[in-house]
Amino acid sequence: MPEPIIYVALLTELQKESLIGQLYTEDSYYHPIQDAEDNWVISTEEVDFTTTEEFIWVKDLPLIVYNQKIAELTGFFSNNN
């Protein structure tokens, strides 16, 4: 079965910095991550559930298809075990 297409919201470097450690709604923190092309992104859940007035602008962010970065782990419990 083909992998489902996941969309994420694209951030600039400055936007990423402004979201780190910040709440998007009560008891829920933003978590910008990098995709396989090193774009900074947040999830559509973070966008949709944002109620913090200061960050309402995330609802206007462009969406891109998420291409997951593969972790370079060592040991038995890597993703190539």
Partner: protein
């Protein structure tokens, strides 16, 4: 209590249950009764004292789901969850998005346990997926030792791995081959060198030669805490309706625990 067809609430509420209900702001009487019954059953079966952190995921919001039933205070030291990334909270539980979501329990096996060989991890999954993920636990990347459950891995023949304070070798994990579904109560427990992996009330996997090392990183839910950072490619998209961290459990403990948790889910109409 039910008297002549009338449900009387507020009588006989366990003090620990009441503390959680108050902290989490639970006002629904069905949810209050479910929590109270769960606590009473865990105490009656002598399981309560072996639990360090319990997350019942009742109330439908992050603010309700974050509290530890054992010590419902809003502090890291109370092992209150901190939700990060994309989570969806509802009456059926807490659902991470499988992309960037995790919850930090602030529970480090290294600092919270005094021995390596007396611990368990547990979660109740309402989602059937085959993915590469860690649902609960942590990893120390220096030396590669593990305190985690990783079930139904799509990159490993849908095997489920139960590793409680073990070092870096397949031979140290309890492994269930070709796990057919991930909609279940999962529990990995270690006593001495024996690690058992349980699915619902069935012992699905056993390893008798576990080595002893425990990571000094926090147990996370929904992702692999890889020496303090989330490991890309190890996020889960399974909805959790319960989770716990605690001491090792006997076979009788586990079957009693499953019975109590399943009754709890049934009372909330979200059992699988």
């Amino acid at each position: 209590m039910i008297l002549a067809g009338t449900v009387i609430t507020g009588i006989g509420i366990d003090a620990n249950a009441q503390a959680f209900i108050t902290a989490a702001g639970i006002t629904d009487t069905t949810q209050q009764d479910a929590i109270n019954t769960l606590v009473l059953q865990l105490k009656e079966k002598s399981i309560w004292s072996k639990l360090k952190a319990v997350y019942p995921f009742v109330g439908g919001t992050a603010s309700a789901h974050k509290f530890n039933l054992i010590n419902p205070v809003d502090t890291n030291a109370g092992f209150r969850l901190t939700f990060t990334g994309g989570w969806t909270h509802s009456s059926t539980g807490a659902l991470p998005n499988g992309t960037n979501a995790y919850a930090d329990s602030f529970f480090s096996p290294y600092t919270q346990y005094t021995v390596d060989d007396d611990a368990h991890l547990c979660f109740y999954s309402r989602t059937d997926t085959s993915i590469v993920s860690v649902d609960i636990g942590c990893t120390n990347s220096v030396g590669n030792y593990y305190h985690l459950l990783s079930i139904r891995r799509s990159d490993a023949g849908n095997n489920s791995y139960y590793g409680i304070n073990v070092s870096d070798a397949a031979a140290n994990f309890a492994v269930k081959s070709a796990d057919p579904t991930s909609r279940a109560f999962y529990l990995g427990t270690r006593t001495g060198t024996v690690t058992n992996g349980w699915k619902n009330s069935t012992k699905d996997a056993t390893n008798t030669g576990a080595t002893s090392l425990r990571p000094n990183y926090n147990v996370w839910l929904g992702a692999q805490n890889y020496s303090g950072s989330p490991a890309a490619g190890f996020y889960s998209n399974r909805e959790y309706a319960f989770a716990s961290i605690g001491q090792g459990l006997t076979d009788t403990n586990v079957t009693d625990y499953y019975t109590a948790v399943q009754a709890y889910q049934t009372s909330l109409s979200r059992q699988i």
